[in-house]
């Protein structure tokens, strides 16, 4: 039983993103390299900074990804405007996360706009996805 638990833990770690999302991240990686010749792979530490730092968002007010998602990605968050509960972002806590490229691209665009008032670069998107995968 213990062995089974270990096996399932490892398979969950491997499946932090679905094949189509991994493919999407590979494309982001190629674009990042084109945009920045010194780019050397995505980085969860940079991703964490993108996720936790505060910026003047679309509403002209200080905003951070954590304003809605909280600092613990395994926990549920709350939409700061409507109060609606947001399921955990962490793929370990919520296996639905990072399974659909359509969902991932939709929310990355929306949420970069809401927090940064601009779209994210390929490197920023890959960094933040890497951070989410590791949490």
């Amino acid at each position: 039983m213990k062995y089974l638990a270990i096996v399932s833990f490892f398979s969950m770690s491997l499946m932090a993103a679905s094949p189509e999302v991994v493919q999407y991240m590979n494309e982001l990686s190629k674009t990042a390299k084109v945009e920045n010749s010194s780019f050397n792979g995505f980085d969860a530490v940079r991703g964490k900074e993108i996720f936790t730092s505060t910026h003047t968002g679309k509403q002209g007010k200080p905003m951070s990804c954590t304003s809605c998602h909280t600092v613990n990605l395994a926990n549920s968050g709350k939409n700061s405007l409507t109060g609606k509960v947001i399921d955990p972002l962490s793929p370990r806590a919520n296996p639905q996360r990072l399974t659909s490229t359509k969902e991932v691209t939709k929310w990355l665009k929306r949420n970069f706009m809401d927090v940064y008032a601009r779209e994210g670069s390929a490197q920023e998107k890959g960094d933040v996805l890497t951070y989410i995968m590791k949490n």
Partner: protein, 179 residues
């Protein structure tokens, strides 16, 4: 065969449309409308569309029944999703089209904004109809954390997500029934 199919679809649509006017709640007070219940999906295709609408719009707030606003309000909403109440709510183009069509098809046929001097409401709570129905609700009931704003229909209308707004289903947090 094709005619028969078309007929049965028409019959199903009629049956669905009847929901708009069906109300078994005789003791409730309604002024300019006869229903506290809004239409339910009927065909499999419509069910898929409703599921899409509920998923996409319901991700951030209750997926309001389209019957609460006229078409011109929904068109304005759908044409400004890049700045939807100060957030980016843009959709994939195919989903955008499906949802806009769904909203247009099921929009209110009654003009619930006749007193708005030509303004087009984006918020259901701005419409004279809504204001009249909620005139006795105190500010404190609405702004308390459990409700937050009039946008959270389901905070008090316990069956709102099912399209039912009967008075007997109202439970205002910290206040109870509406009597």
């Amino acid at each position: 065969m094709k005619t028969l199919l078309n007929l049965s679809v028409a019959a199903m649509l009629l049956a669905g449309g009847a929901f708009l006017y069906a109300d078994d709640d005789e003791h409730e007070e309604h002024e300019n409308h006869r229903s506290s219940r809004v239409a339910q999906p009927v065909t499999p295709q419509e069910k898929a569309t409703v599921a899409l609408y509920t998923k996409e719009c319901g991700a951030c707030h209750m997926a309001y029944q389209p019957q609460f606003l006229p078409k011109r309000s929904w068109d304005k909403t759908m044409n400004t999703l890049d700045n939807h109440f100060s957030t980016d709510a843009t959709l994939d183009p195919a989903d955008h089209k499906t949802i806009q069509n769904y909203l247009a098809t099921h929009a209110s046929k009654n003009d619930r904004m006749s007193d708005m001097k030509g303004a087009v409401a984006l918020r259901i709570s701005e419409t004279p109809y809504f204001v009249r129905e909620h005139r006795e609700v105190t500010k404190k009931m609405v702004t308390q954390p459990e409700v937050k704003s009039f946008a959270n229909c389901n905070a008090c209308h316990t069956q709102a997500t099912n399209g039912s707004y009967r008075e007997r289903e109202i439970r205002i947090p910290n206040y109870g029934r509406w009597e």
